[in-house]
């Protein structure tokens, strides 16, 4: 089943944003991840879901702006995990899935623009730092992705412009 329940509310999580939800009717969505990466988290026991939409690998000591708290992989993941814990999720139970990091501006520019690849690496490292191994990943390639997590079920789906939603 790929379609969310009809009464579902889709919450768009824009560039550099993150969202936490305990509402089973909510679907958290990161639309059109190019080199950006979406990180979805779900605690099946407390039924808390979270999604972050990361733009760049590292804050390099800079403070993330208030309007884009999840702009950077390192500080964004720290904040995502903190907010999840505050909402009652247990870090040990979290099911974490990662999608995005594509090179959408064509093969000629893929070598030059390695942001997607660097984002994926930074996220892997930061999750590892927190003792978390992603349960599933769909990163790299040349196509943009939309990632969504259904808070009611914890199911996560990825779709591209060319393919329908597949469960991740």
């Amino acid at each position: 089943m790929t379609a969310p329940p009809s009464e579902a509310r889709r919450i768009s999580v824009g560039i550099g944003q993150l969202a936490i939800s305990r509402d089973p009717k909510e679907v958290l969505v990161a639309y059109g991840l190019g080199s950006c990466i979406g990180i979805s988290c779900y605690d099946p026991q407390s039924r808390v879901g979270g999604l972050a939409h990361v733009l760049l690998p590292s804050a390099d000591g800079k403070r993330a702006e208030d309007r884009e708290p999840a702009r950077f992989a390192d500080t964004g993941i720290d904040l995502l995990l903190r907010r999840l814990a505050e909402a009652g999720a247990s870090p040990r139970r979290l099911i974490v899935k990662v999608a995005g990091g594509a090179a959408v501006l064509g093969p000629a520019n893929a070598e030059k623009f390695k942001i997607g690849e660097r984002n994926a690496e930074a996220i892997r490292e930061r999750l590892k730092h927190h003792g978390i191994a992603p349960a599933a990943t769909d990163v790299g390639g040349a196509k943009g992705r939309t990632l969504e997590v259904h808070v009611g079920t914890g199911k996560t789906f990825v779709r591209t412009a060319a393919s329908p939603a597949n469960e991740l």
Binding site: G14, I15, G34, C36, L55, G106, F113, A161
Partner: protein, 197 residues
């Protein structure tokens, strides 16, 4: 330079470029194309793709990088149906002949990106007395926000803020005929301010 003054300067600099790019598009599409005054914005904005149907809408277009005295990025995006109409016009086929993007369509869109993107870059070079080289076009076919976001990331990863110019082209019926997006790299902003002063 205050942000407001920077925006004003870039708006004026990009107006001529957008007009010339629109003229190129108009010639290729065989109809009058009007150009909204380019919108210059600082920072990432979720509504950058509204003109082509919103964040997740599928677009077909071309990407060019700028090198030379300044460096940056140029993207020309079309809603897919509109891009395919352009292809038919350019190839002298009845409208509706091309129903999906294939090799011929991509080659025509590349040419379109080349003409429209280069028109903008050349106008910028002429007006500011800079030497600029547009790269050959790369065909892009994806969700609009994925493309815009990747340019944001590329610019922001160099430090500084993203300054993006976008100009919407409209046909005689007021429908979006294309969206031109230009973003200089942060290291080129100082240079732009200097030569425009």
């Amino acid at each position: 330079m205050a942000q407001e003054a920077l925006v004003q300067m870039l708006t004026s600099v990009s107006r001529d470029g957008a007009v010339r790019a629109g003229r190129g598009l108009s010639g290729l599409m065989g109809q009058e194309i009007s150009i909204h005054v380019p919108n210059v914005r600082i920072g990432t904005k979720a509504d950058a793709c509204d003109a082509v149907g919103g964040e997740e809408s599928l677009v077909l277009g071309a990407y060019l990088s700028i090198s030379g005295d300044i460096t940056g990025h140029v993207m020309l995006l079309f809603p897919v149906a509109r891009a395919l109409q352009c292809v038919d016009l350019m190839c002298g086929q009845p409208s509706g002949t091309t129903v999906e993007p294939g090799e011929l369509a991509e080659s025509a869109i590349g040419e379109l990106g080349n003409i429209v993107g280069s028109a903008f870059v050349n106008a910028l070079a002429d007006d500011l007395n800079l030497i600029l080289h547009p790269s050959p076009p790369t065909i892009i076919h994806d969700m609009a926000i994925a493309l815009v976001q990747s340019v944001y990331a590329e610019v922001l990863s160099q430090g500084g803020d993203v300054v993006m110019m976008d100009a919407v082209f409209e046909d005689e019926k007021g429908r979006t005929a294309g969206l031109l997006i230009v973003a200089p790299d942060p290291g080129s902003i100082e240079r732009l301010i200097k030569v425009a002063a």
